[in-house]
Symmetry: C2
Subunit: 112 residues, 2 copies
DNA sequence: CAAATATACATAAATTTCTTATGCATAAGT
DNA sequence: ACTTATGCATAAGAAATTTATGTATATTTG
């Protein structure tokens, strides 16, 4: 996998948001969903994803449930109650960041 | 200084964009400008800013010019020709990232 | 006028987060 | 048979930042 440009810090928020929308997902599914939704612009690498999932779980924001499909293992993650609250916070933070970036990138202030 | 949430990777692009708009700026001025434009949402710390400026200079994207104002030192930075080209690229990348994030955060896809 | 704040640069240690490189295993396509 | 897709995982290294300092001058404030 080559370039993706994720801007460090946004990954866990993306995960939380997807789980909030989809209810439950497993790791591989998340990588494919992000690739599909962003038309290949964002590629979540496994080396980033799995540690991130484990961390979110350790923080008590995710619950895991193991399933076996076609003799292959899947680990389904879903938000805990605490995870849902934290999702709200992180989304607000990320959206605030995006608004700030747009302010900087669309310099209406140049006119002032 | 407390929270700012810069999302690693965006700092150098912010610097390049500001210099593209303002022509030339010195470090401290950049921190204040970002704080002002984002109404305090984004705070560039000095520990991040100065190494970033030095790196951009080392990469040949910035030129420096030292000035003394009120017996205090200022290092004015401005884009080199190469810096102007690179600014275009990095802005495009960052805007692409923002579009991707908005796709993920505003799930019209939930309706599909 | 002494102390605090603002201006202005800088660097180093530690932390966080990610990339790259592996590794294992099963299923499906060619 | 071989490659690609599915599915998990970890470790080493790189990159970008935070936090903590350090130095120095100017201005504001009690």
């Amino acid at each position: 996998m080559a370039n993706s440009k994720l801007y460090k810090g946004s990954l866990s928020t993306i995960i939380l948001k997807l789980l909030d929308e989809e209810g439950k997902m497993y790791g591989y599914e998340i990588t494919q969903k992000v690739k599909q939704l962003t038309k290949g612009e964002l590629k979540i690498t496994e080396g980033a994803l799995y540690p991130a999932l484990h961390k979110l779980e350790a923080e008590g924001l995710l619950d895991v449930e193991v399933a076996k499909v076609d003799n292959r293992l899947r680990k389904y993650y879903k938000l805990t109650e605490q995870g849902e609250k934290e999702t709200v916070n992180r989304l607000a933070e990320l959206e605030e960041f995006i608004r700030s970036m747009e302010t900087l990138l669309n310099p209406k202030w140049k006119l002032l």
